[in-house]
């Protein structure tokens, strides 16, 4: 939880104080923001760039943060908007360079960095499963993708998700339901293996 004094210092005009306090905000939130962005776009290197962009945007606008939501909710909002903007830019570029962005491919190499303690056999099996789940999430339309990531990968409440994606709680519920209806047949094979 962000200390209120840290936030106040991050909102001051004094650049040194501001940067030092913001450093703590970054430390506390960088992991979950990176994960959210990675799940959304499915590219490890690009997720790093967009995470940087998220925090730079937050730093520039920190004085506008009125604590009407939590700091992490605010950062999630910025991150999701940056992902959507990035998606839009890519889509525009793809109309020129004919490079589809509708099917982002999860970079399986990056997933190998997760489980360094496990045996190679276990790792391959788990990596394959995780890659497939991530892949299917990243193939969802972006409005469904966002709610699935925020609910199941980031464990946020309906209300927090509603604030982040800018809709009401009812819409969050229906989007989650539809997203899961789309995922169920795609992940059926893994679901069956899991229950054996």
């Amino acid at each position: 939880m962000i200390d209120i004094d840290v936030l106040k210092k991050a909102q001051t005009e004094d650049l040194t104080d501001k940067i030092q306090s913001f450093d703590k905000l970054v430390a506390e939130n960088e992991g979950k923001i990176f994960n959210t962005i990675y799940s959304f776009i499915g590219d490890y290197d690009e997720a790093m760039d967009l995470t940087q962009e998220t925090f730079i945007c937050a730093f520039r606008n920190i004085s506008k943060f009125r604590q009407e939501s939590s700091m992490s909710t605010w950062l999630y909002t910025i991150a999701i908007n940056i992902c959507k903007k990035n998606y839009k830019q890519k889509k525009k570029l793809s109309s020129i360079f004919i490079d589809s962005v509708d099917n982002p491919q999860i970079n399986i190499n990056s997933i190998e960095q997760i489980n360094q303690d496990q045996s190679i056999e276990d790792m391959l099996e788990i990596d394959e499963k995780q890659a497939l789940i991530q892949q299917e999430i990243s193939l969802l339309p972006k409005k469904y993708r966002a709610v699935i990531i925020l609910k199941y990968l980031q464990d946020l409440s309906y209300e927090e998700i509603a604030k982040i994606v800018g809709c009401n709680v009812g819409t969050v519920k229906s989007r989650l339901s539809r997203a899961k209806d789309k995922l169920k047949p795609k992940l059926k094979r893994i679901m069956e293996i899991e229950t054996l």
């Binding site: 790093m48 339901s177 995922l183």
Partner: protein
Amino acid sequence: MNCQKIKGLINIYLDGEATSEQTELVLSHIQTCKECNFRFNETQKLNNLLTSVPAIKHPSNLHSSIMSRITADSCKEKKSFFAFPISAWAGVATLILVIALSSILMFRDKPENMSNTVIKQSEMNIALAKPEILIVSPKEDAVVDGKNVDISAVIDSVGTTNIRVILDGKDVTDATEISEDFLIYTSDALSDGYHKVVINADDEKGKPLAQRSWKFYIIPPERVSIDKPSKES
């Protein structure tokens, strides 16, 4: 209770957001309805699967990269403000004074002209509100460390037939790829310092509909000190 409503409640229950009344409804219904019981189990399996996806380990240099960029960005902002030559400020002040004096002289004896002009200006503002030009890259006041820069923007092109792209006063529209609502121009090698982009969107009669201008800054990476921000600022 119909099964369609229970389907929604199953999701809410498994997401841990159901009220006690909703919980009771779901649990009693799945005892008696085979179909909903199956759906309950399937949804639970899917939820477990989705929540089992572990967090990806973020790059170890992520924190330092973010803070370096923030520090460099802050230093650049401070530096660029104070680096603006005093002679330029004097020029701006003189220009404002000349415009103000001309306006007073022009409209001193003709108040009706003034009101007409105000109306025309407000009409123009309304016209200028559409279409919208959104900067994609480089961002306003961005520091770019490459020489060849991709300048791009999204344009809500309703009613727009004529787009002009001007870089540092030079019309580069012919070298710009323009699709229905997006444009991109890759510059030749640019010199260090500020560069200004202007995008004009006119209608078919040449009437201006929208204009967007912004600056970006080209700086060699070694000139951005991130270790000692106080010296740069």
